[in-house]
Symmetry: C2
Subunit: 355 residues, 2 copies
């Protein structure tokens, strides 16, 4: 089967590019003595998690308990649920995951950690936590000035093991080495403060996609959790963390209407690409048609303005999405290709796992 046989819209992954991306990050982490724990939210496919583990990742990162369940299939389990979770049903499922895999959860409050501790204790399983600090993004994580208070609160809970700290410096732009320096001072300072208060933090887990190649500059951080690097996307290019030739995943669509002059319509919209914007115009880029602007979309259609070459109904085009993680989440299956040959068909098992 070739890409021309795929029904559109179809999300295809260039395996050569993907493998280069995987190796490059594994090499970088190894060279700098950083533990690599890829975030699987980008691909959501156990077989790809298994490839990351085979290349030396210490474990995998997931966003939800339901994604942890899916990633058990990736192999030798050491899973980090990178966000606070809450709820009776989640605790029941978390405990089941913990019976089959080492598991750690990032938390930023004693209130979120207490039910985890209670569930672990009553089930007789071991669950770890990382204490999340706000490194400046103001999303989750406690303020640095109360970080040691959080450590004390977590240490006071029977049933969980305090395994370290977590943070996400998503506010720092690529190449902003001054901001990376500030982050480094903050994190290494907190590690020292924690040690002074009697808390060892074996894991110091952080990093972001824009700053992924500067992770070694953050003193005290010993684990990184990049996700997007496996495929990359338009936003990664814009952030400066990759080049166009590092983007492995594109969407093939078919032109279905050319009735409105100066425009063609493709058979994919927000249900195919997501409506995520980029820090640039358009919902994605036509890699081989720079005159085309992916200007609007509705659920089923993309509306493309063009200045030059008029496409024909039935012609296929290839688009690099703005944000690959949310695009993958919309596809039941994605395809691995070598050149034009389709050599892998993956079911996106972690797709749509909301809980």
């Amino acid at each position: 089967m070739t890409i021309h046989d795929l029904d559109t819209p179809a999300l295809v992954v260039d395996l050569d590019v993907m493998e280069r991306n995987l190796s490059r990050m594994a090499d970088y982490a190894r060279a700098h003595g950083l533990r690599l724990r890829p975030h699987t939210k980008t691909h959501k496919i156990p077989a790809l998690g298994a490839r990351q583990l085979a290349l030396g990742a210490v474990g995998l990162t997931v966003a939800k308990v339901s994604e942890a369940e899916v990633m058990l299939a990736a192999g030798e389990g050491d899973l980090l649920i990178a966000y606070p979770i809450f709820g009776t049903e989640k605790m029941r499922r978390l405990v089941e995951v913990a019976r089959r895999s080492r598991v750690t959860v990032s938390v930023d409050s004693v209130e979120a950690a207490r039910p985890i501790a209670e569930a672990a204790r009553s089930a007789g399983v071991s669950i770890g936590v990382l204490a999340e600090v706000d490194a400046g993004l103001h999303r989750v994580g406690v303020r640095p000035e109360v970080f040691v208070d959080l450590l004390r609160g977590l240490a006071g809970l029977d049933g969980i093991a305090l395994r370290g700290m977590a943070f996400y410096p998503g506010h720092i732009k690529n190449q902003d080495l001054a901001a990376v320096g500030v982050l480094s001072d903050l994190i290494s300072g907190l590690v020292r403060e924690a040690a002074a208060a009697g808390f060892e933090l074996p894991v110091v887990s952080g990093g972001s996609t824009p700053t992924e190649w500067n992770s070694h500059l953050v003193k005290g951080m010993n684990e990184i959790r990049p996700g997007t690097y496996i495929f990359n996307d338009r936003n990664t290019i814009i952030s400066g963390a990759c080049q166009a030739e590092d983007c492995a995943a594109t969407i093939i669509a078919t032109v279905v209407s050319t009735a409105v002059p100066g425009q063609f319509v493709i058979d994919g919209g927000s249900k195919t690409f997501s409506s995520d914007k980029a820090a640039a115009e358009g919902f994605g880029v036509f890699l081989d048609a720079p005159d085309a602007l992916f200007e609007k979309m509705n659920e089923e259609h993309g509306y493309v303005k063009h200045a030059g070459h008029q496409r024909k109904v039935g012609e296929r085009v290839r688009i690099l999405p703005n944000h690959i993680c949310v695009a993958v989440n919309l596809h039941e299956r994605i395809y691995g290709v070598r050149g034009e040959e389709v050599v892998e068909t993956w079911t996106v098992d972690g797709r749509g796992k909301l809980q």
Copy 2:
């Protein structure tokens, strides 16, 4: 089971409101002699399509061949695929649908219609087409001045039956009766023009959500395809086509972090609500907390600024999404409730059907 037992995020449908919405639209269509062909993209659930048919709908509208396959389960089949489709695999599947149901496809070019005609002819099945005209939105559909040319082109194709015309006046705002008048003149004029050229158009299918209650003012139109009315959403309120009490579908989420002052974080983001914006601030509204602004989201989290009452970790909140159709598409299951009792669990069978 009550809503308090649901794992979050959970999309719940108030059945009393939904049933009132369904009846109101059925009554309106009946009162005005309009054929009602609900667009099922909003719910994507055959059992709800069946309810619409039971209330007198003449058939159902779908966006894709794969959605048509799903909606075969709704019962007595008369399906309209409301968008042009193209591709070998789609033709194979379309023919299979046509063996089990009456089926019609909207097309705006002979190029898109020809493969349908060829597939129908070689399989010995009957497939209808509606000729799509651009009523001013400039999305799909031919310009009115070449509409009769499209009819001639379609009539020249052996294998398809020309069943009428279609249009979507998505550019007209609610209560803009002047624009509805212009539309009425356009459509009735085209019907006359077609008749003069020898084309009977038994079906004249149009309408939009913002103008849904003014459909009877469009002369010549005899079929409407509303979708959102079953649930309604924030955008429908903003458009003026419904009130807050007509919104049947909301998302229950849990507060998972309050670490950043003046903010709480819920366990649902763009993978739960979609990143669709509204013509107003925020990614949805907290119906029972007007002080809360759903300001930002990432894939897994919503970030809510609030001026007043500080929520606690573990507290549940209820959000009306901006755009319910894309939100439903992100959920594997949704729940029908009476008061706080969960009385239905539906699998969203048409979810993620991209092809």
